[in-house]
């Protein structure tokens, strides 16, 4: 069977490639990784008259001389240098009408590769607002290439583009040749000199109409430092609120749904291992994966909207000075701010950072930001052990919570600086990018991108999270003690009092957990965590919280025999009165401060580890991250407990 023809969609960054690709392929697309690198490969299929063509969406470039890993991949694909891929049969070059001076250089270089090229001229509506009018026929005559104006939103030009890409077979004659022996700098000088003359002939700027007034006003607001900073801070506030607050009702819905489903299954299956495996292992595990989706979708909705409107580049531009003090660039600001809600979507968002070193530093810094999952344990411990003292309008408990946020920021900042001086040492990142024009985002494309992000998360990270959840369930359930069960059955048979029955059930659950693999692991590791003031119960709860930090509170509820759904107040009372075998109080103030520091700094989240693995395409960085963060978390807790106990 003859191989289907293939084409690539390529152009300068922010020229509308992905929007066009989405419209050409619809849902007939998939995302994978190029072998051995973190660059995503988006491929799909386009159909015309019972024929099909494979399409690949390539990262944007400015020339055939790559400056980043993304660009290297694009050029390798086009030149057929990747072992797994043959050179494409055709090229769809996306030429942004508002950036035509830049776009012509790369187009010239591609048309000299002896591959048929079709030009999709995008952003014509925005060009018109800017006062730029391009005559596609004249441009086509000058370039000796088919030039098809496209409006992805309305669909105008798409059919013509598809028809042309299927029918074109012959590469065009090059329109320009550079002097032999020219180096890259000389080549660029010659090509852009040619472009300037070409633009004089096309005269798109001379045929300009008056720039739209509303467009000019928006530009003035967004391009001036003070007004743009206010807009930026407002935008960041909205993003933060959205990911933090708007996602909560949806997450509660998923949580309640999982709990209800678990209860339904549990009531319909016979008591035993299968019942617990399905309700507490599988359903709870799947729930712990899906619960991330609202935050991921909301954050990515904002990022995609900011990207597609052209605002993201401006936000990065404004933040660059601040980020530079950490050895990063402005593109890191949004992933880092989003980490305050959840590190999982924010780490996924680091793909907007073009420099790979920057990207990895941001990925390893993000988990330090105090995420929402830490709040239940903070609320429990601060509420139980930090006194309610007011200093004017300031409250000690609030100050402690704020202090924990600052501790996270401090830990992350120090980590970024240290990484740039050691493991990720390298030339300082530059901050060279184009600022695209403002445009109204294409809703269809936004939805495609959101869908893509959700599928990537569920497939890649979801499986790891689910496996970890099931594993922890296994540790906490087995082995079962028949003696404990028999005693429980006797106790339950002797009373109908619901409160007393609940106490018997909670005590039995605590006893089962104590002698389970989890409990035994907790007791085995107890000497290692004793210098932090932890006993086996705290150790077991922390281990159980590894799939998701929030689980720690529920597991503590079980271990201290108040049930998983107990109110914080009840559990807090139990913790306050908890003693070790010698009768010494476990939860002292130094121990609690140490535990708070541990949670501020350690990486107690398998979802984060899974997503780091996914985004770096390697286990190296998640392992380094976990070891490093757990070590400093341990040392912080150790210092707090030991010093605090001496005072």
């Amino acid at each position: 069977m003859p191989r289907a023809k293939s084409a690539v969609v390529i152009g300068n960054p922010n020229s509308g490639k992905s929007t066009l690709f989405n419209h050409l392929t619809g849902l007939n697309q998939k995302t994978a990784n190029y072998p051995g690198v973190t660059v995503e490969r988006r491929s799909g299929t386009v159909f015309f008259n019972n024929k099909k063509m494979d399409l690949i969406d390539l990262p944007g470039c400015y020339s055939i001389y790559p400056f980043s890993e993304d660009e290297r991949i694009s050029i390798d694909v086009i030149k057929g240098n990747l072992a797994s891929l043959t050179s494409p049969d055709k090229i769809i070059y996306v030429l942004d009408a508002t950036q035509i001076y830049q776009g012509l250089t790369f187009l010239q270089q591609l048309s000299e590769l002896n591959i048929p090229v079709v030009v999709a001229l995008t952003m014509n509506d925005i060009a018109t607002k800017k006062g730029i009018k391009i005559n596609p026929s004249l441009l086509s005559n000058k370039l000796k290439l088919p030039v098809i104006p496209i409006n992805a939103k309305t669909g105008s030009g798409l059919n013509h583009l598809i028809e042309t890409i299927f029918s074109i077979e012959t590469p065009a004659e090059p329109i320009f040749s550079i002097d032999k022996g020219s180096n890259h700098a000389e080549e660029f000088s010659q090509r852009f000199a040619y472009n300037q003359n070409l633009l004089k002939e096309l005269a798109p700027f001379e045929k300009s109409e008056t720039v739209q007034r509303s467009y000019a006003i928006i530009k003035r607001l967004v391009d001036k430092p003070l007004s743009s900073t206010i807009i930026f801070l407002s935008a960041m506030f909205i993003v933060f609120q959205a990911v933090f607050a708007w996602a909560t009702p949806l997450m509660d819905l998923i949580d309640n749904g999982a709990t209800a489903l678990s209860a339904l299954v549990s009531s319909n299956l016979e008591d035993g291992a299968l019942n617990s495996f399905v309700s507490d292992g599988i359903i709870a595990g799947v729930g712990s994966v899906i619960i991330f989706l609202p935050q991921i979708l909301i954050l990515f909705l904002f990022i995609i909207l900011m990207e597609d409107t052209g605002y993201l580049s401006r936000a990065a531009f404004l933040s660059d000075r601040l980020m530079r003090s950490l050895g990063l660039s402005g593109q890191s600001i949004i992933p880092l701010l989003s980490s305050f809600a959840c590190a999982v979507p924010s780490i996924m968002a680091t793909r907007v950072i073009p420099n790979n070193r920057d990207r990895i530093v941001t990925i390893l810094t993000a988990p330090f930001m105090t995420c929402s999952a830490r709040l239940p344990i903070y609320a429990l411990l601060i509420g139980a052990f930090v006194p309610q003292i007011n200093y004017g309008f300031l409250n000690l408990q609030g100050l402690v919570l704020f202090g924990l946020y600052l501790l996270g920021i401090f830990g992350g900042s120090l980590t970024a600086v240290l990484l740039r001086k050691s493991l990720l040492k390298g030339p300082k990142p530059n901050f060279i990018q184009t600022i695209p024009e403002f445009r109204v985002p294409d809703l269809t494309s936004v939805l495609y991108k959101l869908y893509d992000r959700a599928i990537v998360f569920l497939k890649r990270a979801g499986t790891v999270i689910l496996l970890a959840s099931v594993f922890v369930w296994f540790l906490s359930y087995f082995p079962r003690s028949e003696i404990i069960q028999e005693n429980l059955d006797i106790q339950l048979s002797e009373t109908t009092d619901s409160a007393l029955r609940e106490i018997f059930l909670n005590n039995a659950a605590a006893d089962q957990l104590q002698q389970s693999w989890l409990g035994r692991t907790g007791r085995t590791l107890e000497p290692f965590f004793a210098p932090l003031g932890w006993d086996w119960r705290v150790t077991s709860a922390v281990i159980a919280g590894f799939p998701a930090r929030e689980v720690v509170v529920a597991v503590m509820g079980t271990i201290y025999a108040v049930g998983e759904e107990a109110e914080n107040e009840t559990l807090a009372n139990r913790l306050t009165n908890a003693v070790d075998q010698e009768g010494n109080q476990i939860f002292t103030l130094p121990m609690v401060i140490g535990m708070l520091i541990f949670y501020a700094w350690c990486l107690q989240c398998v979802a984060t580890i899974a997503i780091i693995r996914r985004e770096t395409n390697s286990w190296k960085w998640p392992v380094i991250s976990w070891v490093y963060m757990t070590t400093i978390g341990y040392l912080g807790a150790f210092t707090a407990f030991q010093v605090g106990s001496m005072l």
């Binding site: 001076y101 060009a127 000199a193 531009f317 404004l318 000075r321 901050f431």
Partner: protein
Amino acid sequence: MKTLKDLNADETGIITGISEINDDVLRLMSMGLVVGVEIKCEGLSLGGDPKFFSLYGSQITARNNTLHFFKVS
């Protein structure tokens, strides 16, 4: 000799020379910053660095430590 680093907001210049060719400079050249092109400083970030420029309708940002290699009149 003035360079792109010295251009303030709303100032225009023509690139007259490039004092050093390195990766960052080549990057900017691949985006159209070559000798002879007219370029306008559209705005500055807080603290004056980085800056963004427009040329032939395109808008490009870069830091001062790269801009100072581009001489302007």
